[in-house]
Amino acid sequence: MEVIQPNDEVLIQLPSDTVKLVKVVPDSIIGLGKFGAFPANSLIGRPYYLTWTILDGDGFGLEPVSISEINGEKLATHNADGSAKSSKKSQKPSDSSTASGVDSPGLALEDTAIGVQVGEDGEDEEEDVELDAGVLQQELEKEQRLWEQQMKTNRDIRDDQTAQTMTWQEIEKLKKSGGTGSGKEIIARLLQSHAYIDKKTAFSLAKYTKRKTDKYLKRIRVVPADVPNFTNYQLTQKEPLKMLELRDEAMGLIISWADIRWGGRYLVIDDTGGLVVAAMAERMGLLAGEDARAPKKVSNARKRKREDNDDGKEEVEVSETGATEAKPADPVVAAAIQKETDEENMWASTMKRKSGYEQTQVPAANTITVLHTQDQPNLSLLRPFNFDTTNIINTTTHPLSSHLLSLSFLQLLSPESDPTLERPEPIPDAVLRTLKSVKRSNYHRKCRRQERVLNIVTSTRQGGFDGAIIATGMELSGVINTVAPLLKGSGQLVIFSPSVEPLSEVVDWCSTLRRNEYMRIKKEANAAIEEATNFDSNKPQTHVLDPDNTNPDIDAETIAILKELPKLPHHTPDVYFPIDPTNLLAPTIHTSRVRTFQALPGRTHPLMTSRGGSEGYVMHATKVFPILEGKVEARGKFGSRKKGSSAINTGVGKKENEKPKEVGRETTASVNGKKEDEMTIDEV
């Protein structure tokens, strides 16, 4: 059963249409301000998406509201008109159309809109078909006439304080009486004592009833804090700017176009506080499951493993796990270990183990690599998903702690400058044993961290990522120049921006004219180099140490490893070519917006208001490898612009004949071919 577990973060939908994020701590009290309070224990062990009434007065806790009651209210909203108390279900479907039309003109509109045969089988449809057009027309006209005759308006309703004769003292008294009945009684009395209640139209009455229901019944619904729910909460209730106003529809586009799948390797630059990472993790199966539920220290798992190994070196870590830790709680951790070992076997990691430290290896698949500008990534929004980012390096059994790899731009581009990559002064075992436990564990932690970061840097620089997502306010040219070379061929680059301008710039940097010019210059430059130095482009290049190294006394061993790292392809940006335009194919900008409708019978319309702010734009492009030798031109046959269907599948021979006529009309590429002659070269 998927139920609310102790210490889960849940979202509570309040009667005021707002949502509250609450952690369900056992034996605590959850307070909802004016809506009252209830014990957390009355939520634990219950399924999500149920509706509850907060008990008042003597009772303490929650009382479930049956779904049929909630939906019944919605289904019967149009029936609130006093004359038509009979519920839809009670009527025979076959004659309901006419019957209800006569009984209650208020229903007529609804009937034509959705049909009363709701929930019945196909019989009625056949009848509908049998009705010929003339009869149908008559029916419609009859209903229309009835509707007009008895149509109520608000012309006789005076908007003043005296309309409601029930006083607030009376309401308070009823409230005090307690129980769930009190709320319903208040509403019933309110409706009774409203002066104009029978003058209200059905719709207005329904609205009035709903308003009062929300106010007096204190109903809440508990929904899980998964990525879409949490996004909406963050967007409407918290600080949308912190997450770049990233809406669900944009998130969907990002995740889809970036081709996020279980088993892939992805690079991400996330200024949304971790929301993009969370969505990716959800799609990679890294947020669900027992391990992801409550944070558990990995040291427990390690301890367990050590019992099997009985490795001398591990023994020093006993102190680290510490006496403060509770006993390895149970089979769950054991299962986690089991899973972990399984997994290691399964994805034979490409990274070599360098020493005895565990948890420093980088998984070969299903990873998210976060590139960040500061020392630490800002992934604070991962907290509701039970992932604490303050200890990002493998401290819990949470799937993310091993599959989320984080490194700063400094660590990627100039690893020798970063002190975390410096190996701590080695301490011989004999000395180590004599040290205080705190110092010892510190030493081991440092060593482990160095190994882990080194592994992350190595694996990241080797590239071959399946896709990259960039959601940042940073200048995009630099980011793209860093990220694009690390992508696999045909890998997807997806950029999200709250405004369109940064993205349109990127698209312009890849325009056909610019790309052709760049190719030409590059080819000439390459030819010149090859002539001059007999340059071998096939030889793999390795990392050239940063001359600006801020960490000069880094140990030799690390330097040796770093020197072996592959050289990152470098593009020198200039004013004309901020990024290498040949790397990215067909950058395209999308924007998507969801419009929500009020879906009530006879009263369906788009919501009157919705959130403004940023539209949210998603750009995607595909990483490609251009042909550098020889001249490449888009020459071909171009038919009509409609789908180009006629143009496809034509033979080569035929194409040759028609070429002269068509070239230059539709393709910008061939236009450029001509244009090139007029352009002089810009020295890059």
């Binding site: 879409p228 994805w347 071909g636 352009m679």
Partner: protein, 559 residues
């Protein structure tokens, strides 16, 4: 983490043995060991232009009669024959590309056999496939499908029912979303291709697997259970999925779900007795007829998780009728939305309102010079007037000369004509020179792509409406017995005495500032201290007041 880790269901596989997970051999799905090259017998996408993508099934170089090995299930169903399926080369408007020339790293630019044109060859993704697939029905495009999958919480390991598979666009997208490795032995795949490295590991993994997952109800594999009532469409889709290596993830069943329901898609499929889906996508003309077939009692929906549904209907009437049925059937959180998606075009707008790099620059096009600015316009008009005046003056002069000559007798008319044309030419040349100077930048070099400004506009053909989406959730059933049992398991404490701030009189029983009990029922030290201090202070205050005057006692009463 391993696929096992994603399943919240406490599984027996965790304790009794290993759940072997193998990567599927599909170009749509990841396989960490395989090369990034396009391999034979796989799907690839040829990128011709942004809007023209052609899918191609790469055939092994050795076989010359490829079509015979995997025949099309239905010869031709309102469907273009995918190009290249009959020959060993891909024919496009940019030339012909032999399949052997496409066995290169994905993402490479490829020159055609004649050398004249080029394409890019890409690894397929559901998005690219959506743009290149043969249409059999209306296609669910990426803006809709991405939003639907996001809202339906389709994750690795989920089971999704899709009814009305149609052209298979949504099928591919959801197959990617549910995929969490392949857990069970599969029927042998027709493979004539080169043996890849991971096919070896894949072959021995399932053999162990068959013994461990006989338990049935513990099927952890993510699955798409696809239903299609059109026999030929179902057959073609099945064939396509087989070609794409997705047959282990998707089960296509030929059935009318409105009449026959969703349970038991295929008796031979060992997935724990029934569909047990957590997500449902209905792309049917009358979803309200199928919804009553979706319930927990008949096993079509998951017994342990909330189930989510999305119905995709183009008309508002359909959507409303669907919602009414959903409400009757006990679904909650019903939501009616519409996705409005736009694709934007980015252009450079040159001076004079012309787009740079488009056909407006083509010879013989609209080459009339336009003014760049007000000053320019004024200047140009002034120049024109000046020229005209000069011309008129000259003409007057000439006429005068002519008259004089006429009067004198013999005249040279041809000279006069030449002079006339010279004046015109001068004016034109000057304009062009100024224009050219304007386009030239400081170093005297011309970069057309850097001229003007970047502009963004909506693409010319806009999809203003695709369909209405109806979302809803079916919560797990919760009876009074369940509630009583839960109350017993997690006892509810009595309502605590109201905690009132003695000074302000503010009730913070339920407020955030109220001292919270820790898990073991004790207050933290800080909180205890605070409370004690507050109590002391209140007591002192009360004392002081009582001493000074026997007046109002409201403050003391609460303490």
């Amino acid at each position: 983490m391993a696929a096992v880790a994603q399943q919240p269901i406490p599984s027996s596989t965790g304790s009794d043995g290993k759940a072997i997970v193998a990567f599927a051999d599909s170009a749509f799905l990841p396989s960490p060991n395989s090369s990034s090259n396009i391999v034979p017998n796989s799907r690839a996408i040829a990128h011709l232009t942004r809007d023209v993508l052609q899918s191609v099934l790469i055939l092994p170089a050795s076989s010359n009669t490829p079509a015979s090995s995997t025949p099309e299930p239905v010869a031709n169903l309102k469907r273009k024959q995918p190009s290249g399926s009959n020959s060993n080369s891909l024919n496009t408007r940019f030339g012909s590309f032999p399949h052997s020339s496409l066995l290169i790293p994905a993402g490479s630019q490829v020159r055609s056999s004649s050398g004249a044109g080029f394409i890019h060859i890409l690894r397929p993704t559901p998005e690219l496939w959506t743009l290149s697939l043969p249409h059999r029905t209306q296609v669910v495009y990426t803006p809709d499908s991405s939003y639907i999958l996001h809202r339906l919480r389709v994750r690795p390991g989920s089971r999704i029912i899709e009814a009305g598979a149609g052209s298979g666009s949504f099928t591919h997208a959801s197959a990617r979303a549910v995929y969490n490795g392949v857990h069970e032995k599969l029927p042998p795949v027709v493979s004539t291709g080169i043996e890849t490295i991971d096919s070896a590991t894949g072959s021995d993994a399932p053999s162990i697997e068959t013994t461990s997952t006989q338990t049935g109800s513990e099927d952890l594999q993510g699955r798409v259970l696809s239903f299609e009532f059109h026999a030929d469409r179902a057959a073609i889709l099945r064939h396509e999925l087989q070609q794409h290596g997705l047959h282990s993830v998707v089960t296509v069943t030929h059935r009318d779900v409105c009449a026959s329901g969703f349970s038991l898609p295929d008796p031979s499929l060992n997935i724990g007795g029934n569909t047990h889906a957590t997500a449902v996508f209905l792309d049917l003309p009358a979803p309200w007829l199928a919804i009553p077939n979706l319930n927990r009692a008949n096993g079509s929906l998951s017994q342990t998780k909330a189930a989510r549904i999305c119905c995709f209907s183009p008309c508002l009437e359909q959507a409303l009728r669907t919602i009414a049925v959903l409400r009757e059937q006990g679904w909650v959180e019903e939501d009616l939305v519409e996705v409005a998606h736009k694709r934007l075009e980015v252009r450079r707008l040159g001076p004079g309102g012309k787009e740079i790099g488009t056909k407006s620059r083509a010879p013989g096009g609209d080459d009339e010079l336009k003014s760049i600015s007000v000053e320019d316009s004024v200047g140009r008009l002034k120049r024109q007037l000046w020229h005209r005046k000069a011309k008129q003056a000259k003409q007057r002069e000439l006429m005068a000369k002519k008259r004089k000559l006429d009067a004198e007798g013999d005249g040279n008319l041809e000279d006069m004509g030449d002079d006339d044309s010279d004046v015109d030419m001068d004016g034109g040349e000057e304009d062009e020179a100024i224009e050219a100077a304007g386009e030239e930048n400081g170093s005297g070099k011309l970069h057309l792509f850097h001229q003007g400004r970047v502009v963004v506009r909506t693409e010319p053909e806009l999809k203003t409406h695709t369909s209405y989406l109806v979302f809803a959730v079916l919560p797990l059933p919760w009876t009074e017995q369940d509630e009583a049992a839960a109350k017993l398991k997690y006892p509810i404490p009595p309502r605590p005495a109201p905690q009132v701030n003695p000074r302000t009189g503010k009730d913070y029983t339920s407020g955030s500032k109220a001292p919270r009990l820790t898990a073991d029922g004790k207050l933290s030290k800080n909180q205890e201290k605070k409370l004690r201090k507050a109590a002391e202070k209140a007591a002192r205050l009360a004392e002081a007041e009582a001493k000074s005057s026997n007046g109002p006692e409201e403050t003391g009463a609460d303490a």
